[in-house]
């Protein structure tokens, strides 16, 4: 049926990835198209909806049972939907070398490294535990959404299968899912689990960075810490330069007195550079107003961060 939005959805997705089927068969390739996931969900949602419509038409099983079957299918369909995973090291093994017991005493020349690996492994376990809690709450929210959806279906079943009815079903499901998700997401337990996931991820990344920096130092490669130190020194120097230049400007009181003079001309070009690092954008830059005049080109002040 050409007007079926779900078929359109699939056909549309196929345009983005002609090998959708092949990609589905090879999990590693499913990321090849953003739309492959949509296509898959659309196909399964449409199949479940059709089963529901068929059941409703045949009046067997009872409408309530059909609605329950339908909502269970949807809940299953969205079970892996985890928007709260902020991708901290997703897919990684945790970074700890295999065989290192989490609580084993760290001894010998590599003591510091052993401890770092243990901390990484501990952080990884915290990430996994927090993610499990989030998944459980997500699953509970879906269950709640499904129950609400089933109740709404039972209360006002759609008249007949049509693209419009299908779309309304989908929108109704999204409403239920969003409401249930919102309730879960606002809960203390969800906020705690999300924070724990992020905080553990931060700990894990910090240990990983330290580990990589250690290797970089061994190879005499520049490290991020060194670059940060340099950047902070540059910033500090910039601030010193600005302070010096500001001190060399006329005092505020003097400027005020000057500007209070009748028909005062604009401040001298040199003095008009209110911010030492600032400049007019390009030599041609001028306000449209003929009276207005930007800070002078000649007076372009030092701009320490010009290349930043």
């Amino acid at each position: 049926m050409q007007s079926d939005p779900w078929q359109q959805w699939q056909a549309f997705a196929a345009l983005f990835t002609p090998a959708v089927a092949a990609a589905r068969a090879a999990p590693g390739l499913t990321g090849a198209s953003t739309f492959a996931a949509f296509s898959d969900i659309a196909e399964r949602f449409a199949a479940a909806a059709r089963t529901y419509f068929d059941a409703a038409k045949a009046s067997t099983p009872a409408p309530a049972d059909a609605a329950r079957t339908f909502t269970d299918s949807i809940r299953e369909l969205f079970a892996d939907f985890q928007p709260w995973n902020l991708g901290v090291g997703a897919g990684s093994s945790g970074g700890a070398p295999p065989g290192l017991a989490p609580d084993s005493p760290a001894l010998g020349a590599s003591r510091e490294h052993q401890q770092r690996w243990q901390r990484m492994a501990a952080a990884w376990r915290r990430i996994e535990e927090a993610q499990r809690r989030l998944q459980r709450m997500g699953a509970d929210a879906l269950q709640e959404a499904a129950a609400t959806f089933a109740a709404r279906l039972a209360a006002s079943p759609p008249a007949a299968e049509s693209p419009e009815a299908l779309r309304k079903l989908y929108d109704a499901w999204i409403d239920c899912a969003e409401e249930a998700y919102g309730r879960a997401a606002h809960s203390e337990a969800f906020c705690n689990a999300l924070a724990e996931s992020v905080n553990a991820g931060s700990d894990w990344r910090r240990e990983l960075q330290a580990s990589i920096e250690h290797s970089a130092k061994f190879l005499d490669l520049p490290t991020r810490s060194e670059i940060n130190t340099l950047a902070q020194r540059v910033k500090s120097l910039e601030e010193d330069v600005r302070a010096l230049q500001n001190n060399s400007q006329p005092t505020a009181a003097a400027s005020k007195a000057a500007s209070a003079r009748p028909k005062a001309r604009p401040r001298s070009r040199k003095a008009s550079a209110a911010s030492p690092e600032a400049r007019p954008a390009g030599s041609k830059a001028r306000p449209a107003s003929s009276k207005a005049r930007p800070a002078s080109r000649k007076a372009r002040p030092a701009r320490p961060e010009a290349k930043s």
């Binding site: 991820g201 931060s202 991020r224 954008a281 009276k291």
Partner: protein, 333 residues
């Protein structure tokens, strides 16, 4: 509608770009650039209007396309419009703080405009996070800000409906940021997670269910570009923003300091117009409306629109209602 015309329409629209009003860069500081828009109507208000957009998204949302441009609407009202574009920070900007943004870049823009126009004070329109920066500016440089307009601006960060605030309150933001920047992708994922079913699924079903009308598809693509064209955030400023506002709610506690100077909203005596989106899921109405009880202004006006966060910039309704409301309010002062 079949899939192929939609696909073709999307392909045709894939290079369409946002921005429709003519503008000129007039001043810059670091990666921040100040633009002045070319006027399209007879001047109505003497003092120019500086738009301060958020750091977390690109400011072209204010001038998306001809029929969806708040800036165009403001120009049509005869306003002299400037806009500060914060640019795309990179790793070398990681130590840029909120004080740098406010005292150097933003205050620098203000000084440039005032000097160019030989004025003592100008009008400021702060949008979302830019509204927070504008409130700080007005408190720190009261002599330079004549009238302040805040649009979908959070002031009380601990209102019950503020999901983002609840999420980040227990996060160790210093550890999360580390010494680096915060990627725009991470923030996008966070924002999408606030309403994942609508923003990550239903939106695309809507796209596929509607017409392949070129204007509609191009509008969709421009908004899509804006949503995901998110600059990285400088680590230092992001850390401060989350800690000071989302976690410690310093505006409400009256204990915000920038560069060692107190930012107290009670010191704001200037006229304030607060534009609030009643269906804003990012900045709940109560988070914005709190400004009334926190500010010392005796000339405070709040206007609520039945719009969401993004709808406040680009909905057809916003085009008809928001710029005239701003222009009327400014003209009366």
């Amino acid at each position: 509608m079949t899939a192929m015309p939609l696909y073709e329409a999307l392909v045709a629209a894939r290079h369409c770009t946002a921005g429709c009003s003519e503008k000129q860069a007039v001043w810059e500081s670091g990666k921040a650039k100040l633009y002045r828009y070319r006027s399209i109507a007879r001047p109505a208000v003497a003092a120019p209007l500086l738009i301060v957009y958020a750091l977390v998204n690109r400011p072209y949302m204010m001038d998306l396309q001809e029929d969806r441009s708040l800036i165009r609407g403001l120009l049509a009202q005869g306003l002299d419009v400037y806009l500060i574009d914060w640019g795309y920070p990179d790793g070398a900007d990681r130590f840029t703080t909120l004080a740098d943004y406010i005292d150097r870049h933003l205050a620098g823009c203000v000084r440039y405009i005032l000097q160019a126009h030989r004025l003592e004070a100008l009008n400021v329109l702060g949008v979302c996070q830019g509204g927070v920066l504008s409130l700080c500016l007005a408190a720190l440089y009261p002599q330079h800000v004549k009238n302040l307009i805040t649009m979908v601006t959070p002031v009380d960060f601990h209102t019950p409906a503020d999901l983002l605030s609840k999420w980040v309150r227990k996060i160790d933001v210093a550890a999360w940021v580390g010494d680096g920047n915060v990627s725009g992708d991470t923030l996008n994922q966070l924002f999408l997670s606030l309403m994942p079913f609508r923003l990550m699924q239903q939106k695309y079903v809507d796209l596929m269910s509607g017409s392949t009308d070129r204007a509609r598809i191009e509008n969709f693509m421009r908004v899509e570009q804006w949503i995901f064209d998110s600059p990285d955030q400088t680590g230092a400023a992001f850390r401060e923003f989350v800690a000071w506002f989302y976690q410690e709610n310093r505006f409400v506690q009256y204990r915000l300091e920038i560069s060692g100077r107190k930012v107290d909203l009670r010191d704001l005596k200037l006229p304030i117009l607060n534009l609030i989106g009643k269906r804003d899921h990012l900045v709940p109405p109560a988070a914005s409306a709190a400004l009334q009880r926190l500010t010392g202004s005796k000339d405070y006006t709040a206007l609520e629109f039945d719009l969401g966060h993004i709808g406040m910039y680009i909905s057809a309704r916003a085009q008809h209602e928001v710029p005239p409301a701003i222009a009327r309010w400014l003209a009366a002062r």
